[in-house]
Symmetry: C2
């Protein structure tokens, strides 16, 4: 008997009708002879509605109270799904994050899971019940306060539960039916992937693919929990994410796909002294402000005055904060100027096949050159090449790379209305 953890996103639970459909799938999975644990996000727009109410009573609400508020959303969807499963005649029991033993750090709004002690959930499963667990939430062991896990928290709950319960697979349901070789809204012949390894999915997620949050994939990789991305609207098997990069035989390693990211901007510090420790000052200041920088480029030093330029990318959401902070440092550090460009985009090619194909970087740059696209910055990992280009060129860059590396399918991709996460 297999143990399957199924996670349903908000769009899959946006109405009573959708909840009944989810319950049918859950009960069918159970009746097929599996043990089933279900993790639910909040229904459709619930979280946005609660955020809106909060803003009306306090523009800067205490984080602890915000967590108490938002977790109500998952309690509602959770208990409704349990009722719908019961309506189909299956034994069922719902659990809050706390009841399911999701123990977290105390950082409200963005807590990390420390451990999962799913004794009560396991007991329910052992009694033949379907267990329904509220996603996105946990409890701080010391203060007993309710915490939330931040963006994509329900995916992380599902993977962490699957790991703690040694589940055979963690299925992530949304309105997207799998991982594609590119965003089908940009690349019309994008193809659904049958399988990829954890590292490839991590690189895609880090490069702008929104289908899974990085954190849940990191967790799945660390605990070796196979994930399957599926649509709650179809019976398509979706995409399996499993296995380690090093276990892929060279002859089977392929290029996985192209990812794009418009959420980052680029800051350049001009005329910074080219002596040890100067760049470190910049990055320490950014780190202390919890601003995640991504790509970094340092120009060749000017011989005349021994200065250089440093360019890095960061989320545009943090752009103003970073500029303000660096602006305050500028005169004391003797920098010439600080430039900011938020009209950039990142395009990345990902795939285990890169390891065994030394010509990939050359093909990558040639594809962009042939499309008339200028590369602003570039960096690579073992299985990824990323270029920063003008934001206006981003879609064309993705299409050019997708074609160059023959990632497309014979059939055009089905395009869904939204990503619905």
């Amino acid at each position: 008997m297999a143990l399957i953890v199924q996670k349903y996103g908000g769009s899959s639970l946006e109405s009573a009708e959708r909840i009944r459909a989810v319950a049918e799938r859950v009960v069918a999975t159970k009746q097929a002879g599996n043990d089933v644990v279900v993790v639910c996000s909040a229904m459709g727009d619930t979280t946005d509605e609660l955020l809106d109410l909060a803003a009306q009573v306090n523009p800067n609400p205490p984080a602890r109270e915000m967590d108490m508020l938002l977790t109500a959303g998952e309690r509602i969807s959770n208990s409704l799904v349990a009722m719908a499963v019961a309506a189909q005649g299956a034994d069922v029991q719902s659990f809050t994050g706390s009841q399911a033993g999701v123990i977290t750090t105390e950082r409200h709004g963005n807590a990390r899971i420390i451990e999962v002690t799913p004794g009560r959930v396991q007991e329910a499963v052992d009694q033949g019940k379907v267990a329904i667990v509220a996603g996105f939430q946990g409890v701080n062991r010391d203060t007993k306060d309710v915490t939330t896990l931040g963006r994509g928290g329900s995916d992380t709950t599902a993977v962490a539960l699957a790991a703690a319960m040694k589940a055979d697979v963690c299925e992530i349901y949304s309105d997207v039916d799998g991982v594609y070789t590119a965003d089908p809204r940009i690349v019309s012949d994008a193809r659904q992937l049958e399988q990829l390894c954890f590292e490839e999915m991590l690189e895609l997620a880090a490069s702008g693919s929104k289908i899974l949050v990085l954190r849940s994939v990191e967790y799945a990789r660390a605990w070796n929990v196979p994930m399957r991305v599926r649509s709650s609207y179809s019976n398509d098997p979706g995409t399996l994410i499993a296995g380690a990069l090093e276990d892929i035989p060279v002859e089977e390693a392929v290029l996985t796909g192209v990812a794009t990211d418009e959420s980052e901007g680029k800051i350049t510090i001009l005329g910074i002294k080219d002596v040890p420790g100067e760049a470190a000052k910049v990055f320490r200041a950014l780190a202390d402000a919890e601003i995640n920088i991504d790509m970094v480029l340092q120009n060749i030093s000017s011989i005349e005055d021994n200065t250089t330029d440093i360019t890095f990318t960061l989320p545009t959401a943090d752009g103003d904060r970073a500029l303000e902070m660096l602006g305050a440092m500028k005169d004391a550090e003797g920098w010439d100027d600080i430039a900011y460009n938020d009209q950039v985009g990142k395009v990345s090619l990902v795939g285990a096949g890169m390891k065994s194909h030394p010509g990939v970087t050359a093909d990558f740059t040639e594809a962009l050159r042939d499309a008339g696209i200028n590369i602003d910055m570039m960096n690579t990992s073992e299985i990824r090449i990323t270029a920063v280009v003008r934001q206006d060129d981003l879609a064309e860059a993705a299409r050019a790379l997708h074609t160059k590396f023959e990632l497309g399918g014979d059939e055009p991709a089905i395009v869904y209305a939204g990503t619905g996460r």
Copy 2:
């Protein structure tokens, strides 16, 4: 420094604007030098909306899941009130029923409070914080499951917390500004009462007054917690409910008011054998079905065949169930017939003054006679006289008694749109 527990009903919290107004009152109470603990019901129609969703996914939802669902309503209002209080600059912390130590029986949907261990709430208050506690909910100590307290549960939470924390007063806020000598929608010169004792309030609540649920008053009486009924729309001091009947000096004992109740119907069993144990069979069967009967009347036995008639009142909500059950007993017991009348009403006169005025019953019956109203059944307690009359006569009966006993004020009562409980 006084400790004040304030309970706000759903209509007082129906919008962000109303929540901000509640927060202002809470903070003003705190700034006046009091410790404040606030108990919140769910916002406006939240509970009805959740019930509606539940009905759509399962017409007969499991009670445990229903409790998980409904308690989300109080979490939402609770955390929003906490945010609004924080916005006014006060230190604040919210608590679920479980966090506040509200320990209950395991009967989902209608649990009873076993004890309240408000250690965390007390700690917050000792730190100078306003504590916000979700009403209506508790936790079963054995199973750790979330429970709800049934109708009026938030009032009961407030009184139980006030008792456990030895509060000076438990203020119950709604859109009604106090206890009146009669329902102002029926009796136009109904007058707001300044104070009444617990027993008087119990009799009024048991006789159809909807301003406080019986259970919360019983709890307040048992733990001697003064309650004050106030409007969240005004600064009117409202009505104080405090003190024991036996402590009221004879010269201060007055008649409190008139209550009406349209929610009961009347069943008559005709031709029941007038031997010991026959009536007991009827009432045991009703008790086993958890049907609460109220007034009972047994006619004088017929000499010819030694049979009698038994009439009793019961909630019309239980009418069909009771008829079905008694119908099944009829032939075996040899009853002649069973009659049901749901077009009856109860009118009651309540007041400690009754003890020292032996003529009250005579005045009561004369007032109804003069109004041309026939009395169907009647019963009394030490401080109450109740008559069952035709439902069409109920309002006129209330007005006649209110006038006869000179309960009216000089000013007409303010009439609110709804009772908003």
